[in-house]
């Protein structure tokens, strides 16, 4: 699990039948200590309906399928939580 910022969204009509009703967001990994972006953006399925610029936690790899009640969903990255605040000692984001 890791934290990232939502930097974009996608529109996709043709998709696997089990993915109907969900959309894909573009995430940018963020260093929780410094708030700096890290690495290249990537895609994640969004079962929560998060907004742009929101700070989220996501799950990667096979465990991402467990974010759904029916585990038979072909995903490898899913947004699992919206981070409201992050305690970094003296300051809060």
């Amino acid at each position: 699990m890791n934290c990232a910022t939502v930097i974009g969204k996608t529109y996709s009509e043709f998709k696997h039948p089990s993915l109907k009703g969900y959309d894909f967001k573009i995430l940018q990994l963020v260093n929780a200590e410094t708030g700096e972006p890290e690495g290249k953006p990537f895609f994640a399925i969004d079962p929560l309906g998060v907004a742009l610029d929101e700070f989220v936690a996501f799950e990667e790899s096979f465990q991402a399928t467990w974010a759904f009640e029916d585990h038979g969903i072909p995903v490898d990255c899913a947004i699992t939580a919206i981070i409201d605040s992050l305690d970094r000692g003296d300051e809060k984001k």
């Binding site: 974009g8 996608t10 399928t65 995903v75």
Partner: protein, 96 residues
């Protein structure tokens, strides 16, 4: 999940029987701004009716097995969606 573009359709006369109704595609990875990355994958496509030139999302790892339901498919890369539009910083990038 990774964005990619289908660059080749693979024809395999001999393959695992479990893969049989599905197609295999060669997919080149893309960045969200649609520039090409160096990686490429052979990805399974399960009856979505996609073809060469389509911009797709590719699932890597064991989650790709779920593309055919809960079967034990020998697959670690699957095409799961065709992307029609990407929106970064409120700039729309219509693909089709």
């Amino acid at each position: 999940m990774t964005l990619g573009i289908i660059i080749r359709e693979l024809t395999c006369s001999v393959k695992d029987p479990k893969l049989n109704p599905s197609k295999l595609f060669l997919v080149r990875a893309l960045d969200p701004d649609l520039s090409l990355r160096d990686e490429q994958f052979v990805a399974l496509e399960t009856g979505l009716g996609l073809g060469k030139g389509d911009i797709v999302l590719v699932v890597l790892g064991s989650g790709a097995r779920k593309a055919e339901g809960n079967t034990d498919l020998p697959v670690d890369c699957a095409v799961t969606a065709r992307v029609e539009d990407i929106n970064i910083d409120n700039k729309y990038n219509l693909l089709k």
